[in-house]
Each structure stands twice: as C-alpha cells, then as structure tokens.
C-alpha cells in the first residue's frame, strides 16, 4: 500500500503525462512479446497437430521397407529392391514376440477407369489384415478375404476420394472398373480418413488383393513394405530390435555388412517430429526475441530522454531528501511499468493472433501458461535491464547543477 502510493502511482502518472511517447515506446515491447507468443503458440500448435497425426496412424505401428542395396557398385533406391518377401512377413508374425499383426503390400500409381470417368491414384495390393493394422473401417461393403488372395481375384476396395471422383452420386458397390484394362469389381468403400497431416490425401487410394497386384498389375513377386503392429507403443522399440535381428538372420547378412532393409517405428518417427518442431519453434522464437531486444533498447532510449528532461525534478527530489536508491527505484519502476504494460498488451495481441491462425487452420487453440508467465517475467526483466542505466544516471546527478538546469 505504501509502496503503491510512493512509487507506482507517481510512475503511472509520469507515464500518462506523455501518452504518445509512452505508447510508441510500449509498441516496441508489444510487437516483440506478441511475436514471441505467436511463434511459440504456432510452433506448439504445429507440433501437436503432427503428433496427433502420428497417433492417428497408430503409435504402435512399425514399417519394414527393403533397404537400399549396393549392387555392382550401384546404389539402388529404397523400395526398388527385391529382398523383402512374404516369407519375411510370415516369419515376423510367427517368430517376433509382441507382434499382434502384419500386412505386406505392393504399391503403384495407376490410372483407373469407370465408364467415361477416369482417375489417377495409388493402387495398393495388400492382405486382409491391412484393414486392422491401419484401422480402416468401411462406409459400405467390406474387405476382400484370404480366398480372394488365393484366387488372385479381381476385386477392389476404394477410398472416399476415388468414389467421389469416379462415381459421384452412383452407388459404386458391384460396379466394375478397369485397371490396366483388367476389370475389377468394387466390393467395399472405405470410411473417409481425410488428410494425413502431411498434406497427403489418405482417401485417394484403391486397394486390391496382394497377389492380384503382384501378378496382374505390377508383375513382381516381392513386397514394397510390411506394416507391423506391436502390442503397445512401449514394446515397439523391442519389436524393432527383434525384427532387425530376425531379418539380418533371414537375409544372411554378415555382421560387418549393412542391412538390406529398414525398420521404422512410428514412436521413433513421432519423437523425430517432436524434435524438429521444437527446434523450429526455438528458432522462430529466437528471431522474434530480436524484436523484443529492439523494444528494450527503445525503452532505454526513452528513459534517458526522460531523465534529461526531468533533471530539475530529480534535483528537487534529491534536495528534499531522496536517496540515490529512491531516485533509482523511481526510474526503474517507470521502466518496468513501461515494459510490463507493453508485455501484457503483447501477450493479448499474440494470443489473439494465434487464436485467429488456429481458427483459420482449424487447429486447437491453447494458451500456454508457461509461455505467458515467461513473457511477463521477461518483459519485467527487460524493463530492469534497460531501465537500470538511465535510473543510475538519474540517481548520480549533482543536485546543485540539477536545480540550476532549465
């Protein structure tokens, strides 16, 4: 109470005396703080979004790809090698503990045609277990089964985007489409999943039995990938190690040689994503805090002007008994008020801006309490750091000269 009447009220009054100048000085801090708040909020939002996507893909999922291989001195790219086969998949399911399911697949881009419509999409040949592993549900119809694989049946399941592009309002079930001039009967439509969060439309896909794709569409006997489900996200690390061991064994790879396959776990992927987004957030935050620094210099500048302008006032105060500490505190409090008010305004602007951006991107908006607390403390610290020198200068004035100052 005493403190408020002795220091805070006079400080506020002196700031209010020159509203234009006070406002412009604060603007520097407002811009700095709001930039930091917005970038941190957006960074967090993007991170959360990506992690949400990974979680939706299944954080207990692992992917096995055939690796790059050195063949006669020629590096062959991922997915181009023949080393991953169905027997590997069977062995993973049977011999690796904590594996609850797996689905191998072959993938190619192709044109599909129905009557006068055609569409270019991804044709995936896979096993019935794929629908469980990727947790796909059906909007209509159902999946193909193991007998379809045995018969290399010409049946297909389509994604929502393909349905919309080819059939529009027509019920696609039972319709026959053509892939590479072969007729395929539609037996199921997948429920829409939407964008994967990496800008990829998950519904733009057509699924056929693995054997059909291998023999009739692509003409290969090996696999492009195997999706494996671990029993839980926690076991995925162990499963990864076990699969690696098993695969090296099966492919008879010498201890010194490199793997001819790759195992990626979603849990790992999620961690990598998290690291990338937090580094990105930090980087953006660092750039934004330059603005804050400039704002702080603005405060110092204005406080120096203010000290010079009020030389006589300082002289009077010293004459009637203000100690160096009193004078220093007075100007320090003014600087802190300046930066603190600016900081609070900056938080408001920053949160508002991130709310608008989140709304536009339909991300979930959250106010980060640590970020806000940090911003408040940081702007107060800026006030102290940049107000200290002017305040010290004021307190060191010679009262006789100060009283003579016009």
């Amino acid at each position: 109470m005493e403190f408020a009447s002795s220091y805070l009220v006079p400080a506020l009054r002196s700031l209010a005396r020159n509203k234009m100048r006070t406002g412009l000085t604060m603007l520097g801090i407002v811009i700095g703080v709001s930039a930091v708040i917005t970038t941190v909020a957006l960074g967090n939002g993007a991170g959360g979004q990506m992690q949400g996507t990974v979680a939706a893909l299944g954080s207990n999922m692992l992917m096995v790809f055939p690796g790059s291989m050195n063949r006669n001195g020629l590096q062959v790219g991922i997915g181009q090698t023949k080393t991953l086969v169905s027997a590997d998949e069977a062995s993973i399911v049977n011999d690796v503990p904590n594996v609850t399911g797996a689905a191998g697949g072959v993938q190619t881009s192709t044109q599909i045609v129905w009557e006068n419509n055609n569409w270019f999409t991804q044709a995936i040949g896979t096993e019935p277990s794929y629908f469980q592993v990727r947790s796909w549900t059906f909007a209509a119809g159902g999946p193909f089964d193991s007998s379809d694989l045995e018969r290399e049946a010409n049946v297909a399941v389509i994604g929502e985007t393909v349905r919309r592009k080819l059939f529009g309002v027509v019920n696609p079930l039972g319709q026959v489409i053509r892939i590479k001039n072969l007729p395929f009967r539609i037996i199921g439509v997948l429920a829409a999943k939407g964008s994967s969060g990496f800008g990829q439309d998950q519904d733009d896909v057509i699924l056929v039995p693995l054997t059909t794709e291998q023999r009739k569409i692509v003409g290969i006997t090996w696999l492009n990938w195997v999706f494996v489900n671990a029993s839980s996200p926690e076991t995925s690390d162990v499963v990864k190690t076990d699969i690696t061991k098993l695969m090296r064994d099966r492919h008879k790879i010498q201890p010194a040689s490199e793997d001819d396959f790759q195992v990626q776990s979603m849990a790992e992927f999620a961690n990598t994503l998290k690291q990338i987004t937090s580094i990105l957030t930090l980087l953006l935050g660092a750039v934004a805090s330059v603005a804050l620094l400039v704002g702080g210099i603005g405060i110092m500048n204005i406080m120096l002007v203010s000290v010079t302008e009020r030389t006589r006032e300082i002289g009077i105060r010293i004459a009637i008994g203000a100690t160096e500490g009193d004078v220093q505190l007075q100007f320090l409090i003014e600087a802190v008020m300046l930066s603190l008010i600016g900081g609070v305004a900056g938080i408001t602007v920053g949160e508002l801006a991130s709310w608008i951006v989140d709304l536009a991107l339909s991300w979930t908006f959250t106010v980060s309490i640590p970020a806000v607390t940090l911003a408040v403390l940081f702007s107060a610290a800026i006030g102290i750091a940049f107000g200290y020198y002017p305040a010290r200068r004021a307190s060191r004035l010679n009262p006789i000269e100060a009283l003579r100052y016009e």
Partner: protein
C-alpha cells in the same frame, strides 16, 4: 491557526543549542590549471532559534556556503558540524536522510514539482521519510493551513500565484519538522508585498523557535532577520545583530491592499 502539533514540535526544538558550527571552512574548484577559491576559511556558529540573513554580492561565496550548509555540496577542507555531527563523515544515504529530516529548503524559483498538486508537493518529503499515510495527510494539511493555503491543496503550481507557490514550498520544507530552514533568495521572484507576506511566515515560524538561514541580496529583506552575515571574496566580513528589526505583520498593514486570492 489549527496547526498546533507542528507548532508545538517547533517550540520543543527551541531549546538553546548550536545547530551549525563551521570551522576554517574552505571550498575551491579546480578548473584545469587554475584553482578557484570560493570560500577561504569561514568560521561561524548558529544557535537554535536564530534567524540569520546571509548577504553578499554574487561571487562572494554565499551560494557555495549555502550549498555546503544544505549538504548539497561538501567542503574541500575544514569542519562543518550539524547538531554536533561532522557532515563530511556521513555516507551519501545518511546525508540524504539529514536533508530529508533536519533541513527544509526554500528556493528562489520555488522548485515545486509541476503537474503535481500542492498537497502532493507538500507530502513528498514525508514519502522519502516513510511516514505513514494517515500521518502524512494530517501533517500536509496542517502545514498548508500554517501558510494559509488549506483551501488550495488540490491546485497545481501552474494554478497558483508566485507567492502562493512559495508558501507551498515553505509548507513542504516544514512537514518533516526540521531543525533548520534554508531559504535561498526566497523573495527574489516575488513583488514587494508578497515578499513581506513570505517574511511574515518566516518570522512567525522563527518566533516558535525554528532556526532560519536566509540568503538574500535585498537589504530590506535582511532587516526581518535577527542576525546579518555579509560575505566578500569567500570570507565573512560582517557578522552582527540586526538593529531596527522589521516586523512583517506590522509592515503588511502599511502596504496597500492588493487582490490576490
């Protein structure tokens, strides 16, 4: 006057003792090669309850002497004791406290804080003395009443006449119940009638035992004091009691009435 406690405090302080004791005081300024001697061995004692007028031409050293008495400046050599305490041995904070609690300043240019009400100006020294808010309000009102400005408490300096501003400054100098009032040309910016009114306040305070030191170059103003000291070339050349002392409240009656309020 409803301001009994302040006046009582002044009466209480009026017991005879030495407020200021100055011995072989020198002050010089080094300006590059040359050394300017502003004070060349000043000796003086000022007792509690005295009303001293310090006179002298500009450059005589009287302003330097005032600054040293007000502890705004320190002597180059010699001794300055305030109530028996050697001021040059005090720390900066202790000197600030001495100015705050023991000395009241009144300046020629009033030196009130602008855009700050009369009341707040008077309150200011008590803020630095950490006086509680209730006591602050009480004393500020009392001091303003003492100088006849109780109804002007909310006015800003720009809304007050020169004489009123100087009275606010006097009220400000009184609130911490000082041992000494130092007035540096307090009537220098005032017309003759207002000057006498200010002197009337000083005389009234002095009658209650407050020690006052007044710097002036006007002989008629010096006639209101009890003792005159004249400086020349950094030395005291005259130190004498005032003969034919003027009484301000008598003089006011002889002056034509002006509308001021």
């Amino acid at each position: 006057m409803p301001s009994q406690t302040l006046v009582k405090a002044l009466d209480h302080a009026a017991s005879r003792s030495t407020v200021i004791s100055v011995r072989t005081l020198h002050k010089y300024y080094d300006l590059g090669e040359t050394r300017v001697h502003a004070l060349r061995g000043v000796n003086i004692d000022i007792q509690r309850g005295e009303f001293v007028a310090i006179m002298g031409a500009s450059g005589s050293g009287k302003s330097t002497f005032m600054n040293i008495l007000g502890s705004l400046d320190l002597p180059s050599s010699g001794s300055y004791k305030f109530e028996g305490i050697e001021v040059s041995k005090l720390s900066k904070t202790e000197i600030a406290r001495l100015r705050n609690r023991k000395i009241g300043f009144v300046f020629q240019g009033f030196n009130l804080l602008g855009r700050t009400s009369a009341f707040e100006n008077v309150e200011l020294p008590m803020l630095y003395a950490h006086v509680g808010s209730g006591e602050r309000v009480h004393r500020a009102q009392e001091a303003l009443a003492l100088v006849g400005l109780r109804d002007r408490a909310g006015h800003y300096p720009s809304q007050l006449s020169g004489g009123q501003q100087q009275r606010v400054a006097i009220a400000r100098s009184l609130v911490n119940k000082p041992s000494l009032i130092l007035a540096d040309e307090p009537t220098g910016n005032l017309d003759s009638r207002t000057s006498v009114e200010v002197m009337e306040i000083f005389q009234r305070l002095n009658e209650h035992g407050l020690t006052i030191i007044l710097v002036t170059h006007e002989h008629d103003i010096a006639q209101y004091a009890t003792r005159q000291i004249v400086f020349r070339d950094g030395r005291i050349v005259t130190d004498a009691s005032v003969i034919d002392r003027l009484n301000a409240s008598e003089v006011i009656k002889t002056l034509p009435q002006l509308e001021e309020d």
